[in-house]
């Protein structure tokens, strides 16, 4: 992985967040507190604004810097969750290297694992993890099988969408809709939606 790819991914993420303002806002108004789009926009813009200082760093250092920056700018629960993802991904790359799809998949999985620990949540609780956990598992298995990057990216995009849609029928036991009980059924989780959008955007530039 090259730092250049991280910078391109940040731009792609910002583009997709801005393009989906209405979708994210209306989903969050239904079962959250309505600030998810604003937080995601602030986070994406913050990372894009860091381009110059990130460009000179290696991927592992760049991801760590992104994590720390998000930690002090986003606030709420999203800040620590996203920061934990990037900081753990960085740590994995530092320890194991970043020169193969398997190593990148392992780093992604380490990031997702950090979110489950920080949020004390798991699959099936109507959160972004319903997208991230299946994507991480598939990423690792396809990388081990030796598929090329484009093939993996296409598959992950589809898995992300399936995961996002699965949150619609779930009762929330963690995250923003946990107080709503059955009232949240029929609504897609906004965090799962923004995660799916980001994964799709990054997969498209692979």
């Amino acid at each position: 992985m090259k730092t250049e790819f991280i910078l391109d991914a940040a731009l792609a993420i910002q583009r997709t967040i801005l393009a989906n303002e209405h979708t994210l806002e209306s989903l969050d108004r239904e079962i959250g507190d309505g600030d998810h789009y604003i937080n995601m926009k602030r986070g994406a813009s913050t990372v894009v604004e860091m381009q110059a200082e990130l460009a000179s760093l290696n991927p592992e250092a760049a991801l760590n810097k992104i994590g720390l920056k998000l930690l002090s700018t986003i606030g709420g629960a999203s800040g620590p969750l996203l920061a934990s993802f990037f900081m753990s991904m960085s740590k994995s790359l530092k320890e194991h290297g970043d020169d193969s799809p398997t190593k990148i998949a392992a780093a992604f999985a380490a990031g997702v694992q950090a979110i489950t620990q920080r949020g004390k949540a798991n699959l099936g609780e109507k959160t972004m993890l319903d997208v991230l956990i299946p994507v991480a598992a598939q990423f690792e298995s396809l990388a081990v099988l030796g598929h090329d990057a484009k093939f993996i990216a296409n598959a992950l995009s589809k898995t992300a969408e399936t995961g996002m849609l699965s949150t619609k029928d779930l009762i929330a036991t963690k995250g923003r809709a946990a107080g709503l009980g059955e009232r949240a059924i029929g609504h897609i989780d906004p965090g799962a939606k923004s995660c799916q959008l980001m994964i799709e955007a990054v997969c498209q530039i692979v």
Binding site: L71, S72, I74, G75, T173, A178, G179
Partner: protein, 333 residues
């Protein structure tokens, strides 16, 4: 929205600056990252730090001072502070005996304080407050919410730390006070977050929200407004049921009764609520020997109030009674 505002984005810093100037004899303010400390740094004691979203004033900065907090980290309105604030505040007040964080149980606060605790180079521990017995999960929490009972935890732990106790003892007392405290709130109107510009929820003039949280998040049920005595009776019943669930006997207990305003309910009504609550608890064999009535944990401009009962033992009583000198709570010094 009708509020005293210059620019919405400047509310927090302007309010913090006013607070720090008004209480310059007690507190000092640091901006970027935002935190407040005692004016004179305490020596050789566990440093007690709290924090959370703004909009609950005087919580937490109003409780900085001798006998209570060493520092407080205010986030934006109803948004948790970030770890950089806690790290710098801890570095500023650390006095060689470790740091104790007192955190209200809200997902954002818990995660941000947790990350700060992991990154902190000093020995530290955390007391999570969860006194609200209204609901188990809510918009911002997994588990019970921490509300006005947090003031009692901060007072007692602050007193013990001032007496020179170690980190473990302070944490133990904080957990004990939390478990022996139960609260429930009622909203008569919504609050309005300045950046949002409109009420957080719709509540008709004929209704109330029973079990509301301190951000206007939903409680147990929406119901028709009734006479005060009936509302208080439901609150008292919920609190007593909570102690029963926790297997803590209330019979013949001495207790502290806190009637807390949410920001837009006059003291006259708070005392009216206190009057009924004290009578009902007494009828249940509880002896109210300590009282606090006023705006101690607010929710911006929400009309409404919460009732908190803390079951006292000799240790809690001693630390509640001990001298305290902060902008919002002061006695015996």
């Amino acid at each position: 929205m009708k509020k005293f505002i210059n620019k919405v984005d400047d509310i927090l810093v302007e309010s913090l600056s006013g607070f720090a100037t008004a209480h310059a004899d007690l507190v000092a303010l640091n901006l970027n990252p935002n935190f407040l400390t005692r004016k004179n740094k305490a020596r050789n004691k566990v440093a007690i730090i709290s924090g959370g979203g703004s909009g609950h004033e005087p919580l937490h900065a109003g409780y900085i001072g001798v006998g209570m907090l060493d520092a407080a980290c205010p986030g934006h309105v109803f948004t948790s502070p970030t770890p950089d604030q806690m790290l710098e505040a801890a570095t500023a007040v650390h006095a060689d005996k470790g740091i104790l964080f007192i955190v209200k149980n809200y997902a954002g606060d818990v995660m941000n304080f947790e990350m700060a605790a992991e990154m902190l180079p000093f020995e530290n521990a955390t007391v999570l407050t969860s006194d609200d017995c209204a609901v188990i999960n809510s918009t911002y929490t997994t588990g019970r919410r921490g509300v006005a009972g947090t003031v009692i935890v901060e007072k007692c732990v602050g007193s013990l730390a001032e007496a020179g106790a170690d980190l473990t003892a302070c944490k133990t007392l904080g957990d004990k006070v939390n478990i022996r405290t139960a609260s429930i709130g009622v909203a008569l109107t919504s609050c309005t977050v300045p950046a949002a510009g409109r009420p957080t929820f719709d509540l008709s003039v004929a209704d109330l929200e029973m079990g509301v949280g301190i951000h206007g998040e939903p409680g147990r049920r929406r119901e028709a407004l009734r006479e005060a005595d009936a509302i208080v009776a439901d609150c008292v019943e919920a609190i007593l049921a909570d102690f029963k669930t926790k297997n803590i006997s209330t019979a013949q207990s001495e207790a502290l009764l806190l009637v807390n305003g949410f920001g837009a309910t006059p003291l006259m009504e708070l005392y009216l609520l206190y009057n009924t609550a004290a009578q009902l608890f007494t009828q249940h064999g509880i002896c109210i020997t300590r009282s606090l009535v006023g705006n101690y944990t607010t929710a911006l401009d929400m009309a409404g109030a919460s009732i908190t009962l803390c079951l006292l033992d000799d240790e809690i009583k001693q630390h509640w009674d001990s001298p305290v000198h902060t902008p919002a709570l002061r006695w015996k010094m």
